[in-house]
């Protein structure tokens, strides 16, 4: 069994050897996912750029795509699918803000998917204007008491842990009075109620928090620094998306191409042109994502990463709109709207289900309108809009 020598920065060859050893010993086809991902974590391959003992090898981040690719080629899962929010947003935050004891308690079960994570940010009164949220955190001895209501929380009904933003100081402007916590969802006072989506499934929830206690060790970052911590995780999410490498003709556009090939009887010059235009945009988007990935591994955060979410989400929507058109009358059918049916977008009406699901892509994780504001103000440095709540203590903002 190869191990990386302590004190030496592992190179690509070392990572590859370690990965091949793990995969040989735990063939993905016959190993339960939690065991496979556990072995992967213990070998330091989950996040090669994390410290040793925490799922990493102190290696350069640019080597992560290599590890992911070897896993994929061996038939293993795309890591994010094991614990979407855990991998996408939480892991990097834990690494940066948790004590070593807490980090070693949390990271392994996160990596294996045994403990799923969810994000308790949005509220009925605070969506795009997340910093305006109302949920209160009040000091209580060595810890905090949390009270409020969260909403649209994906996978909260299956999660053991949550990241949570709450207001610790209502007397300062909205961004300054927030603090970032992690919450054990099994704590008394937490109530999770699934909400049904337009797809028929119930993948997101409302979460009620009633005087929920959490110890101060579960606070990440300083009191009042919650907005900064939350933004650092958004950055992580963007770069972690960059660890994925996509091939020409894969993903949504691959669905459209396959459908086109399957339905010669529905072909027309207009549909052919529309498909070509979508293909061109998908290619330009794929290449821009590649460019963002290369820039990120070189330590440059270019405008590319701010753009890829916006373009990708709108493109995905338009591709499935196209697919529905191409389906013709068949597009009027759906297999089931049962809330219990698996949310895996497969089955005989997979295209219809993906079409419905794609309506969320331009809302979740920041709406397209908000992202255009972000690109305008943070990337292009355009003047800010007049904001009615600017500089005013949160308590005095109309809501």
């Amino acid at each position: 069994m190869t191990t990386a020598e302590v004190g030496v920065v592992p190179d690509a060859a070392t990572i590859e050897q370690i990965a091949r050893d793990v995969l040989a010993e735990h063939p993905p086809a016959s190993t339960p996912i939690t065991h496979l991902m556990g072995a992967w974590y213990d070998a330091g391959l989950t996040w090669v750029y994390f410290p040793r003992g925490f799922g990493g090898l102190d290696a350069p981040r640019s080597l992560q795509p290599l590890a992911n690719r070897l896993m994929r080629e061996a038939g293993g899962p795309e890591p994010r699918t094991v614990n979407t929010i855990g991998y996408g947003i939480v892991a990097g935050t834990i690494r940066r803000y948790a004590t070593p004891e807490l980090a070693s308690r949390l990271l392994r079960p996160l990596a294996t998917g045994e403990e799923k994570w969810c994000q308790l940010f949005s509220e009925p009164g605070a969506g795009s204007d997340l910093a305006g949220l109302t949920t209160r955190a009040v000091r209580d001895g060595d810890g905090w008491r949390i009270t409020g209501q969260k909403v649209w929380n994906s996978l909260a009904h299956q999660s053991r842990w949550a990241i949570l933003l709450a207001r610790t100081d209502p007397d300062v402007p909205k961004h300054k009075g927030l603090t970032y916590f992690i919450l054990d969802m099994q704590t008394p006072g937490v109530t999770v109620r699934p909400l049904r989506q337009l797809t028929g499934r119930a993948q997101f929830n409302e979460v009620f928090l009633d005087e929920v206690y959490l110890p101060d060790t579960q606070r990440f970052g300083d009191v009042g620094a919650g907005w900064i911590v939350a933004n650092s995780t958004l950055g992580d999410e963007r770069t972690s998306l960059g660890d994925r490498v996509s091939a020409r003709g894969s993903g949504a556009i691959g669905d459209a191409l396959a459908l086109w090939a399957e339905k010669p009887e529905n072909h027309s010059p207009i549909l052919r042109e529309q498909l070509t235009r979508l293909w061109i945009r998908a290619e330009a988007h794929r290449l821009t994502s590649d460019r963002a990935r290369v820039a990120a591994t070189m330590g440059v955060q270019g405008p590319e990463s701010a753009i890829t979410k916006l373009v990708g989400s709108e493109l995905t929507q338009q591709i499935y709109e196209y697919c529905i058109e191409l389906l013709g009358p068949e597009g009027t059918l759906i297999d089931t709207y049962s809330p219990e049916a698996p949310d895996d977008e497969s089955g005989p009406t997979a295209i219809q289900r993906k079409y419905l699901r794609s309506r969320a892509t331009t809302i979740e994780g920041g709406t397209s309108e908000i992202l255009r504001n972000v690109i305008g103000e943070r990337v292009l440095k355009l003047p800010q809009e007049l904001r009615a709540d600017k500089g005013i203590p949160w308590r005095d903002v109309p809501r």
Binding site: A258, H285, T288, D290, I307, V379, L382
Partner: protein, 380 residues
């Protein structure tokens, strides 16, 4: 070797260097003056770019006066010249002739022409029959006859980039056994050049009529088709890089304008209708940049099908540059519609670029053929 999209420090410095040189010696004022002259460019300045700055031969082998760095470097130079609308044979010499000559099999011929083009002392252009940026032998309009020793060309060539000023014309012509590439001295008898009045005054064209013009064979029938295909793919990718440069310049100008123009008591860039259009301009620009540099890297390193990469680059960059320059006019308001304002120059360049070496629609159609009609699920 760099991996795709690995823009190194040295590339950044190259970009800065060309940009500063353009800002100093080919600012907008200079461009406006030069575009009104008969020649349409300043030969002395062109030569300074080639010799003093030394940026014309970055993709040319060192033994031929170049730097041997590759097409990505060359594309960066072309992008910056496009950003500044530098007058001169960018299309004829940098996009077409240098790549064509570099692709020639015969070392002695390359050695004869390339050093002069690289130093900027001579200029050239290439006339290749093409449709949608794709070599099209059916559209050949020039015939070559040989008396056993020398060749003579006859025929008519339309829309020849930089045709009225180029010293050497590289022309594809039909011979009894196929298509070959010839060099014609533009001053020789039997060459009649007529300057055309172009919508984009910074990019000149000519009609050339040949009547038994003395020609020299530089590439035989067996090799010529490959050379022409490769030249067109490379030129198309380079033109896309130039479009990226123009788009970036108009985006920057627009951002500067909407950040300082005050209406309703605030900078107009604070209004979402303006801000979101600017965000969309940036998105369009970045998509074009990715596609154009993918093509440059792909042709340089052989990592993608050159025709697909070049068509993708040209289709995306044409639409982006056109849309960005039209948006620039809109967001500049009345200023955007004046002769004095910069946006008009870029709109005209964007229009001309989009119709040169294949329109966006033509490249889209070509991609429809290779990416949709011939797509095979098993190959993905």
């Amino acid at each position: 070797m760099t991996q795709e999209f690995e823009f190194t420090e040295e590339m950044k410095e190259l970009r800065e260097m060309v940009r500063e040189f353009c800002a100093e010696f080919s600012d907008e004022q200079t461009v406006r003056q030069t575009m009104e002259t008969e020649a349409g460019y300043d030969a002395a300045l062109w030569q300074r770019f080639g010799s003093e700055l030394g940026v014309f031969g970055l993709a040319v082998a060192e033994e031929l006066g170049g730097a041997g760095l590759g097409l990505v470097h060359h594309a960066i130079v072309v992008e910056e010249l496009g950003a500044a609308l530098v007058c001169g044979p960018v299309l004829g010499t940098l996009c077409l002739a240098i790549p064509a000559l570099s692709a020639l099999p015969e070392e002695t011929i390359r050695a004869e022409y390339l050093p002069g083009l690289v130093s900027g002392e001579t200029t050239a252009t290439v006339a290749i029959p093409q449709r949608a940026g794709e070599y099209s032998p059916d559209d050949l309009s020039v015939d070559a006859v040989s008396d056993g020793e020398a060749f003579a060309l006859s025929g008519r060539l339309d829309y020849v980039a930089d045709g009225s000023t180029a010293d050497v014309l590289f022309i594809a012509a039909r011979t009894p056994t196929g298509v070959a590439l010839f060099a014609v001295d533009s001053e020789s008898t039997g060459v009649e050049r007529t300057r055309l009045f172009t919508l984009d005054q910074t990019r000149r064209q000519a009609t050339i009529v040949l009547q038994n013009a003395a020609a020299r064979l530089i590439c035989a029938e067996t090799e010529t088709p490959d050379v022409l295909v490769q030249t067109l793919a490379t030129a198309t990718a380079l033109l896309a890089a130039s479009q990226v440069g123009g788009g970036q310049r108009m985006l920057d100008a627009t951002i500067a304008h909407v950040s300082s123009r005050i209406q309703f008591g605030q900078a107009i860039g604070a209004f979402q209708a303006i801000k979101h259009r600017c965000a969309n301009m940036l998105i369009a620009e970045e998509q074009a940049r990715s596609a154009a540099y993918h093509a440059a890297w792909a042709i340089q390193d052989g990592t993608d099908e050159p025709l697909i990469a070049a068509s993708l680059a040209k289709a995306v960059a044409s639409e982006s540059f056109l849309w960005i320059s039209r948006s620039a006019i809109q967001l500049h308001g009345g200023m955007g519609f004046t002769w004095e304002g910069a946006p008009q120059l870029y709109l005209k360049r964007a229009t001309a670029d989009s119709l040169t070496l294949g329109t966006a629609a033509e490249h889209t159609e070509r991609l429809a053929r290779v990416a949709i009609d011939e797509w095979e699920p098993a190959l993905v």
